[in-house]
């Protein structure tokens, strides 16, 4: 399968850190889409239709069709409407938006301006993860360039269309990546998800209609406008249009971001990343960020990298963070780390998640440390049952899915741990594999 990059087109990794400026972007064909819309007076409806045709789906994790989302915004509304870009990339394993903002910020700005045009919003915010300050300052610089060139602000390129865009940085809470918590955070409140309904399209930022999309989603928009929705769809496969950035990490030779067409076989992606490190055997893969259920090697090797195939296999494409684990990995230890993350990042608002994530972590921690009990696996499943579907936002599910999938696919490892008070994977193998010292007492 040939690989035609869209998001990273024309960017040479060697010089990428110097070619993010406005003139570089324009040289790569940037802002042509925005100019085209304004010059040809393309109607907002036509823009939304093009995005619908492209089958572009939300790249933040949920995979919701973007064109459909845009069409939810009330067309006629007296008062402000808002557009937000979710660059609060907090999902463990995900680092794609970081590179987009670092190497191609103008693409995101252009995508947002087009989206703003399509939805009739005059004000936007890009909410950037608090722990990547340099991206925030770079985005501010890029905004200044765009503003100076009349690409953002009042009467863009001399048209009647005005759009002000601001950068807003968070402080590193994972939950602020949840779209309504993000809105609360922008409003200056503690970032906590809101109960839905009402949805942001009717009651969003400051109570006004708001659309929130992921950075990568916006970045794909200019290409769609220039080349047409059908072309974009053709790049991928049916219902899974275009290309996608995958953040491949873990036990591969060349971890990094790879832009590939949707529907690429997992095996191909693994090959692009240089294959398994040290020639070891693939044991498992989390295909869509830490919240996605883990898939064992034999299942994931048969998958193609698109929403539908991964879903069919029992996991989620999520944010496209592919975490690869080889045979040196102790799955109990891996889960313990994941569970700790959700325990620390639960916002504490609603009961099942606040109380349940700590419970999950403590039990997994106990198993890993040789204190497991016979009924612990049933207990874990039962606790996840009580969390899933009972919470305000999806973090409860995100904390539960790894637990359930790890136990489902690697039950014998957990049982071995409980019975023998040590790892099924010998400590020296783990040490060799991870190159991280594992205390023998922990194994």
């Amino acid at each position: 399968m040939s690989v035609q990059p869209i998001l990273t087109a024309g960017i040479d990794p060697a010089t990428a850190d110097a070619t993010w400026h406005l003139d570089d972007y324009v040289r790569r064909g940037g802002y042509a889409a925005l100019r085209k819309i304004l010059a040809e007076n393309i109607t907002p409806e036509a823009v939304i239709n093009e995005v619908k045709k492209s089958s572009l789906r939300g790249r933040g994790g949920a995979g919701f069709p973007s064109g459909l989302k845009w069409s939810f915004m009330p067309r006629v509304y007296a008062g402000a409407k808002y557009l937000c870009c979710n660059s609060d990339e907090g999902e463990p394993g995900t680092f794609k938006d970081r590179d987009l903002l670092r190497y191609n910020p103008h693409q995101v700005i252009e995508g947002m301006a087009i989206a703003a045009y399509a939805m009739g919003t005059e004000r936007g915010y890009n909410y950037i993860h608090g722990e990547v300050w340099e991206l925030y300052s770079r985005f501010e610089e890029a905004l200044a360039e765009a503003r100076a060139a009349g690409l953002i602000g009042q009467n863009i390129l001399g048209s009647a269309f005005s759009f002000e865009l601001f950068a807003h940085h968070g402080y590193g809470a994972y939950i602020c990546g949840e779209e309504t918590a993000l809105l609360d955070s922008i409003e200056g409140k503690k970032g906590q998800p809101r109960y839905k309904p009402p949805f942001p399209a009717s009651f969003g930022l400051y109570g006004k209609p708001t659309t929130i999309n992921n950075t990568e989603t916006f970045a794909a928009v200019p290409w769609i406008i220039i080349n047409g929705g059908e072309k974009y769809l053709e790049l991928g496969k049916a219902n899974n249009g275009g290309t996608k950035l995958f953040s491949v990490s873990g036990h591969v030779v060349r971890p990094g971001n790879y832009e590939v067409p949707m529907g690429l076989p997992f095996a191909e992606l693994l090959k692009m990343a240089g294959g398994m490190r040290g020639g070891r055997k693939l044991k498992a893969c989390i295909p869509g960020g830490s919240s996605a259920p883990v898939l064992p090697a034999e299942i994931v090797m048969d998958c193609t990298m698109d929403y539908d195939s991964i879903a069919k296999a029992g996991s989620m494409l999520g944010s496209g963070a592919v975490i690869v684990m080889d045979e040196s990995t102790c799955m109990v230890r891996a889960l313990e780390r994941l569970s700790y993350f959700y325990f620390e990042e639960s916002c504490g608002q609603c009961t099942p998640c606040r109380e349940g994530t700590g419970w999950l972590y403590r039990v997994v921690h106990r198993i890993e440390h040789g204190q497991g009990r016979q009924d612990d696996l049933d207990l874990l499943n039962s606790v996840t049952d009580n969390i899933m579907g009972r919470t305000i936002c999806a973090l409860g599910d995100a904390a539960s899915l790894p637990v359930r999938s790890f136990i489902k696919h690697f039950k014998s490892e957990f049982e071995y741990h409980i019975e023998h008070k040590k790892c099924l994977v010998p400590p020296e193998v783990q040490r060799e594999g991870s190159k991280i010292y594992v205390r023998p007492s922990q194994c």
Binding site: A173, E344, S346, P352, G358, W359, R390
Partner: protein, 779 residues
């Protein structure tokens, strides 16, 4: 209307209802913690999860809007499993220390755990411990018990108007806390104790003193502000242990001000007077009732015989019951003395004889909630009338325009549309501006004195707001009623109401501010009013329930008059320190908790109550004492057998719910004079909530609150400069012959030339009136 079926029962509910609203309509109980009918929906406890047909997962009943044809199961397997799952989560980190928890027996978590909890916990790990917070003298914390329902957080933000509590930290580490180093100082703070569904927030004064099931619950009525909040007084062994709100949507809703809630501590104060006392040769001796009453009867009859009945005077408290006020005035009138008054803090009596009825709110309290334009004149609103301020806060959030005219700009924690601040002497002028402006717009005629004023933009704004009213109202607060030109203010407000079509009323200062008028505890044709009785000293005084040096408009004058009097009889539940000096007889009479009686609140509602405990020691209900005094003085008409008999004399046999026919804010002709400022410094005095009556002054926990800080001298920067004073400096203030030493504080909310010194505190009892000229010198 929407059709919905809950547990197979069909009903119709209004658009916008939630499932829990619909269930309540049906009488179906859905377990919940975070939901509260008066607070915003948080949907965070997840206890109210129910099964909704076609929904893939259980839905929170509190937050799910009803859709047409919805079918809900509240007790299906899916719903109960979800509810039990949530209960398990709530309990895993809860300390389950019910045996030592004050909430035990009245704990929502405990109650629901019986229905939804398991008998043993599957949680074998370490439990969370949360450090307690200091929220001030009223609310105790045991934060480990907290289930993070955020009711308290939402209360401070939405009802009390200031976010004094919040949830800090994340996840399992989440804690409810105040801002660092701060306490919860709202005048409504005690309500978070009621709201807390667990034992995390409990009453500091009450904690560890009794179990809820040991307490008797008796109905009563708050004796403090004009609202007359209905109370549940909880007693044990004839002692008041705690006070809770008795819900009444038309009065207090489900809230109580801290004053109403915590003043009960004074009922058990060591300062209680428990035996009658006589001053004999300069020494106080305890005597029998008979002896004390004989002494009073003879002393008063002697004075009447030797000096004429007009040499007597009665100062009755507006916090006394209707029955007490009635018998008090009847006793004096029986002696042929018309010198009776209960309006102790009033200074302008020029409307006496011109009123057509008792001045009142001018509407029902509940009607405040449907106003869209309000002007409040001369009120320390939030502290004087906490729950009326709350009602105004709620309507201002819904878009009503609330404007203020006052002599001090304070944060009322509500959205104020427009405000005009001026020296007390300039308030009539300010109000005249609004009248003029409205009159111009409506083409109404006004007096020359009003037409002469220059209209400021703020007055213009207020006038325009009132002119656009559908349901407008103008209220005069305590400050306006105590004002030296109260009659002019009232006449102007009345005129403004007539022009703009707004309604007009008074925010009643005390529990019986209306009742005093109804009981005619007022000077007759020849009688002297409260100020005159003190300005032209009498030979004998009867004082009921008041502390003259703190409760009178001019404490200096009051002390001088009482000290020279031959006989001063003080009827009070307390051994008043001032009275020990000037009184000759102290008669221990019951506070509201130990007597039956009635209060007529600011909306004219008659609320009768019974005693909740037996009188302490030799204390007797004041109405009985007055009745016996009547007998001893051989006056006719003192043969009532019960307080109901007394009430019947005033209100008829079947006491009405409202004394509508006695109420009227209409007045006769008033000459309106609008004067310019003399340029002198003027005193602005509030009566701090926790010093407003004898009861609250003796409630130890309230006295530890921030609002009970001793009085200071407040001025704006310009006035400070003019007086050569700097902030923090000690200053001597002089008013009349008296002085007080106070610390100077900067207060940018005061107009130039205003010196704000609170009244009703022993430290400033040496000063003269609450208004007027005052001098300040730096020390």
């Amino acid at each position: 209307m929407l059709d919905i079926e809950i547990d197979g029962k069909a009903l119709q509910v209004a658009e916008g209802s939630t499932i829990i609203d619909a269930a309540h309509q049906l009488g179906t109980y859905i377990p919940h913690f975070c939901y509260h009918k008066k607070l915003s929906i948080a949907a965070n406890c997840r206890m109210c999860l129910v099964q909704v047909e076609k929904a893939p997962k259980p839905m929170p009943a509190c937050a799910t809007p009803v859709t047409n044809g919805m079918k809900v199961q509240t007790h299906s397997e899916q719903a109960v499993k979800a509810q039990k799952g949530v209960m398990e989560f709530l309990l895993i980190n809860h300390p389950l220390d019910c045996p030592i928890c004050d909430q035990g027996g009245e704990c929502l978590l405990q109650d629901l755990a019986v229905g939804y909890g398991a008998s043993a916990s599957r949680y074998q790990e370490e439990k969370r411990v949360v450090v307690n917070k200091n929220l001030g003298p009223l609310v105790a914390t045991d934060m480990t018990r907290c289930i993070n329902c955020t009711r308290c957080v939402r209360f401070t933000q939405e009802i009390a108007g200031l976010m004094e509590l919040g949830q800090a930290y994340r996840g399992e580490h989440a804690e409810i806390m105040s801002f660092i180093g701060q306490t919860v100082d709202s005048e409504l703070s005690g309500n978070i104790i009621d709201l807390c569904p667990v034992g995390a927030l409990t009453s500091k004064p009450f904690r560890f003193s009794a179990r809820t099931w040991e307490l008797s619950r008796r109905k009563s009525v708050s004796p403090h502000d004009g609202l007359g909040s209905p109370l549940i007084v909880q007693t044990k062994h004839d002692k008041v242990m705690r006070v809770l709100p008795l819900e009444n949507e038309d009065i207090n809703e489900c809230w109580l001000s801290d004053k109403d809630r915590f003043s009960y501590e004074a009922l058990n104060s060591p300062e209680r007077l428990t035996r009658p006392m006589l001053k004999h040769g300069g020494q106080w001796i305890e005597v029998e009732w008979q002896q004390a009453l004989d002494y009073v009867a003879h002393a008063f009859k002697d004075i009447a015989k030797n000096h004429g009945a007009a040499a007597l005077g009665a100062l009755l408290s507006p916090h006394a019951t209707l029955e007490e006020l009635h018998l008090g005035q009847k006793l004096m009138r029986g002696l042929d003395c018309g010198n009776v008054d209960f309006r102790l803090r009033q200074s302008d009596f020029s409307l006496d004889g011109k009123r057509q009825g008792a001045p009142w709110l001018g509407m029902r309290i509940a009607e405040i909630s449907s106003l869209d334009r309000v002007l409040v004149v001369g009120s320390f609103l939030r502290k004087d009338h906490p729950l009326i301020a709350h009602r105004l806060r709620q309507i201002s959030k819904r878009g009503a325009q609330v404007s203020l005219i006052h002599s001090a700009d304070e944060d009322q924690l509500l959205k104020v549309f427009a405000k005009a601040i001026a020296l007390p002497s300039q308030l009539p002028q300010l109000l005249a501006q609004v009248v003029k402006c409205s009159a111009l717009a409506k083409g109404a005629a006004v007096d020359a004195s009003i037409a002469a004023v220059t209209v400021t933009p703020a007055a213009q704004q207020i006038a325009e707001s009132l002119l656009s009213a559908t349901h407008g109202a103008i209220f005069l607060g305590n400050f306006a009623q105590q004002h030296a030109q109260a009659a002019v203010l009232q006449a102007l407000a009345q005129q403004l109401a007539n022009i703009t079509g707004a309604r007009f009323g008074f925010l009643g200062e005390a529990a019986n501010s209306v009742g005093g008028y109804v009981a005619k505890a007022l000077p007759g044709e020849q009688g002297l009013n409260a100020a005159q009785m003190l300005a032209t000293p009498r030979h004998g005084y009867l004082i009921l329930n008041a502390e003259a040096e703190l409760d009178c408009a001019d404490p200096q004058q009051a002390m001088a008059a009482l000290k020279q009097a031959a006989t001063v009889v003080v009827m009070s539940p307390f051994k008043l320190p001032g009275a020990l000096d000037y009184a000759d007889v102290l008669l221990p009479v019951s506070p509201f908790s130990e007597t039956s009686g009635s209060f007529v609140n600011t909306e004219g509602r008659v609320q009768s109550f019974s005693a909740v405990v037996r009188p302490l020691g030799e204390t007797r209900p004041a109405w009985k004492v007055l009745r016996v005094l009547g007998n001893l003085m051989q006056l006719p008409g003192f043969d009532q057998d019960s307080s109901e008999d007394v009430r019947a004399e005033v209100l008829g046999l079947a006491a009405p719910e409202f004394v509508a026919d006695r109420l009227s804010n209409l007045i006769g002709e008033v000459t309106i004079s609008v004067t310019a400022s003399t340029g002198d410094l003027e005193r602005v005095a509030d009566v701090p909530g926790y010093f407003a009556d004898a009861l609250v002054r003796r409630a130890p926990s309230l006295q530890k609150a921030r609002d009970a800080a001793p009085p200071a001298l407040r001025m704006n920067a310009a006035t400070m400069q003019r007086c050569g004073v700097s902030a923090g400096q000690a200053v001597r203030v002089k008013q009349g012959v008296g002085t007080a030493l106070l610390a100077a504080l900067l207060d940018a909310g005061l107009p130039d030339g205003a010196v704000r010194i609170s009244a009703a505190h022993p430290q400033v009892a040496g000063l003269a009136g609450m208004h007027g000229a005052i001098t300040v010198e730096a020390l």
